[in-house]
Symmetry: C2
Subunit: 245 residues, 2 copies
């Protein structure tokens, strides 16, 4: 069974000029693991309509789902909605529903500029969940999410309750005292013995005790437990610090 796949398009000049670090990829990736969707890649690009539209066209053809982050405000550097429309060759129009929500949210403080956030590509749908008051714009297989991390994380609730859940991914870990040079033959043995398990090895530079984290990822918790047990059996005495998951 092959998993559905996804790609992230992270939009924001601020991320490529060192002003801020992205926080949304971890949130998206975590939701994808829960849903059993394999996140294949994340592209971070500048606030440029043509670049974003080109990326969207290619990513939406290659993957089951695409998730954009950022560029959905009302100012000159917010070009994501225009780029989604361009990618699918449709015009931009006003969503009466978003227009109504914006009027209600801003009340007396509303200006014509706030209403720019009611613009959606023609044919887009508004996706919602009970827990989240504001809908997400979805155009074909592209979900348009805001860049603000607090709102992005909140919207994951809509994603998780809307996208069909297949086999979720499970991740186990073992923290060990040995470095990767010493661990390599043991890891190679486990990788060969358990082809369905994705084994990861990560040096922990600032931890003087647990110098390496080994991860075991896959769909079947039973097999993952076997793989971790096989790894532990190869370790010298006292090399294991702790396990997780």
């Amino acid at each position: 069974m092959s998993s559905p796949t996804a790609a992230a398009l992270i939009i924001g000049t601020e991320l490529l000029t060192g002003k801020i670090a992205d926080q949304n990829l971890v949130a998206l990736a975590t939701s994808m693991r829960t849903l059993g969707v394999r996140l294949m890649r994340a592209h971070t690009v500048l606030d440029d309509v043509v670049t974003i539209a080109d990326e969207l066209r290619a990513l939406s053809r290659a993957h089951t789902w695409v998730f954009t982050s950022g560029g959905v405000g009302p100012t000159h550097d917010d070009v994501t909605i225009d780029a989604v429309a361009k990618a699918f060759d449709v015009p931009v129009e006003i969503s009466p529903e978003l227009d109504g929500l914006l009027r209600k949210a801003f009340g007396d403080r509303l200006t014509e500029h706030h209403l720019l956030m009611a613009r959606i590509p023609r044919g887009a749908t508004l996706e919602r969940s009970e827990a989240v008051p504001w809908p997400v714009v979805k155009m074909n297989n592209v979900w348009v999410l805001p860049g603000v991390p607090e709102i992005f994380a909140l919207k994951m609730n809509i994603i998780e309750s809307t996208i069909p859940k297949t086999a979720p991914f499970v991740s186990l870990a073992a923290y060990v005292r040995l470095d990767e040079g010493h661990l390599k033959p043991m890891l190679d043995a486990v990788v060969a013995q358990f082809p369905s398990v994705e084994v990861g090895s990560y040096p922990r530079w600032t931890d003087p005790d647990a110098r390496t984290k080994i991860t075991f990822d896959g769909h079947d918790r039973g097999v993952l437990n076997e793989a971790r047990a096989a790894f532990q059996a190869l370790l010298p005495e006292d090399a294991l610090v702790r396990v997780e998951g």
Copy 2:
């Protein structure tokens, strides 16, 4: 004068499975601003040789410089060196110099597996600076950097002292009480008046006072100061919280 350009290739399944957030893009982006190099995009991909090689071929043709992050240890999931060699169609060989450094660094603890980290693509050079003891592998216009953030940041010293510096980018900021809907006409006026200035607008969701950060980026500090002053002149009284840069 068009600036040299760069792309980042961030390698690591752990970044696409929610295990960890990248910290290296901010460090790289900051160094690129200092050097006057325009960082155009960053692609995050899985630990897969073919994917990485394909990306490297495309990115190295399109940009002045490419920087990879991650995948340079000795275990089965470290495939960056093989992918760089594949991208440029050269074999992998042992660097006698890295071999010597590894033997010296690991001493009695050395295994044959540690020496896997002496592998480089044929034709690669080792770049160094006085301040950093361990060199960086460079193949044509591709710089191969480790994923561990502490070491990645350290290696930026080699990058900054080796790549020719052109006109550095300068960034000024203004923090204001207004939201983007109210700021839009003022920003549009400044964008129209100062075409050489990149103006960014960023909502600050968790700050009840300075609700929006406006940035002014470019090569000429004098012009940036003029653009920020023009923006400030358009603000209502008491709307400015503080300036930066």
